[in-house]
């Protein structure tokens, strides 16, 4: 057997020593490349404000925005606003993604359930999110429940659609292998369909989280006493553009950080992929 192995080489070199110091530093450097553009934009923006090219009362300099953030943090308000918004996004996203996972798996696996549920869900998707606000307020009140329901609704559809479509496109041949070992129903979904769908599912989760962040603004605009959306409205009502821009920047930062966390999680579970991007990354990490 060993002789035969010597003749049959792996198609791709094994990357057992994939994690080494120079590769880590290269990977970090690649991550830092993404900061070049924002830093450049901030520098231009700061210069334009400082030299009076743009009026400061409309577009305050980044340094002033930072100073405003610092003051809000020092007064203890910022952590409260960030905390409550994060909590709303997390709860709404989890509820929406959980419901979407259940229904997406059901409609993806079973043609019968797809025929029953999918037309209704697709028509609900066509309703603009803002149209739900009065109904949710009426049903659930103006406090947390209605906000979380709206965010959950936003997160639901990308996850549902990606999962259902992913399951529909799973390689029939892999499903046959599962069937040869007596798998069906939940066992087949858990052992073949869901893992095969993982790349689609993670795209859906990232899309759902992105919409969760959009919907949290709508939710906090509809009547909140805290949160980054509330801070945004307060900045507008008190004519403080620095507060408005600070809130927008915080949305961008936390939106990006949570998306990055999901992307990293995805990479951890998708290390098996033989995709163009994975090959690019392996090539970039390879010793030169």
């Amino acid at each position: 057997m060993a002789e035969a192995d010597a003749n049959i080489e792996p198609a791709v070199a094994l990357d057992a020593d994939a994690v080494s110091t120079p590769r880590i530093s290269r990977r970090r450097w690649r991550g830092l490349r993404g900061l070049i553009l924002p830093v450049l934009l901030l520098a231009i923006w700061e210069s334009l404000s400082r030299f009076g090219v743009v009026p400061v009362n409309l577009l305050p300099a980044p340094s002033l925005v930072l100073w405003t953030l610092w003051n809000l943090a020092a007064a203890g308000h910022l952590a409260v606003h960030i905390g409550i918004t994060l909590e709303r996004v997390a709860l709404g996203f989890l509820a929406g993604a959980a419901a979407a996972t259940l229904l997406g798996a059901l409609t993806g696996y079973s043609a019968r359930w797809r025929e029953v549920l999918d037309p209704t869900l697709q028509s609900l998707r066509a309703i603009p999110s803002i149209a739900w606000v009065p109904l949710f307020v009426l049903w659930l009140g103006i406090f947390e429940a209605s906000k979380i329901a709206l965010i959950a609704l936003g997160a639901f559809f990308p996850v549902y659609l990606e999962l259902m479509s992913g399951i529909e496109h799973v390689d029939r041949k892999l499903v046959e292998v599962g069937r040869m070992y007596g798998m069906s129903g939940a066992t087949l979904v858990r052992r073949v369909l869901l893992p095969a769908t993982l790349p689609y599912y993670l795209v859906g989760l990232r899309g759902g989280l992105g919409l969760g962040w959009m919907f949290v603004i709508a939710a906090e605009l509809m009547g909140a006493s805290s949160g980054l959306g509330y801070l945004l409205v307060e900045g507008q009502e008190t004519s403080r553009p620095a507060v408005i821009i600070a809130s927008i920047l915080l949305f961008a930062i936390f939106g990006k950080l949570t998306d990055l966390a999901l992307e990293r999680l995805g990479r951890r579970f998708l290390g098996w992929q033989d995709s163009f991007r994975a090959a690019q990354e392996r090539q970039a990490d390879a010793p030169r």
Partner: protein
Amino acid sequence: MPRRKGKPMLRVERVAKTFENGLAALQPVSFHVGQGEIVGLLGTSGSGKSTLLRIIGGLHHASAGQVLVGRLPVRAPRLEIGLVFQEPRLMPWLTVEENVRFGLYRLSKDEQAALAREALNKVGLLHFAAVYPRQLSGGMAQRVAIARALVTRPSLLLLDEPFSALDAFTRLQLQEHLLKTWEYDRPTMLFVTHDIEEALALSDRVVVLRGHPGRVDSDFALDDLTRPRKRTDAGFQAWKARILDRLDLSLDI
């Protein structure tokens, strides 16, 4: 009918298949395979070889007739029937060892690990247990697929042109591997091929399917070919010529 080894383990009794779109793939086909026998199902393209194998595996339903494995009719896939497909069909998200364990999900983790490692050892891939399928060559991936099919200790192993996608050298190596692996438990083996030399090298019997829809044209017992077989031997070549004659395509027109 040629002599069979042992008592019949697989009985294909007047099995016919017409697909939903009206396409007839098989005329009524009958043959038996004895316990521990290796039978090659040889035929021209479109003669229904793979369809017949999938019916025997329980993946397709026959339009008429029945398949019995042991004493029980096959109506759906059963654990005692192993199937190796034309492509390895490994789960890309599982490592080699996890792929071999795939069919053992009803057993405890410890039992799964022990059986999978034993099966990988038999196909000579134990030290590749932790790698993903994308890191394997085509021949290695097919050996993993064979290990996955054998790990459940099937009494009937079906192979659907398992080496057809491989280069000639790897194909010869894997044929040898398959015979060595078969020696451990000696399951009854039925394999589909369109390669006459492969059929002669591996089989105790060769069943030839011909026509559209396919039917059993002939059934040859290779009793006079001793093992190990050399492809250059006069006896081997004589059988090759005889089967080539039977496969003369002009007869199908």
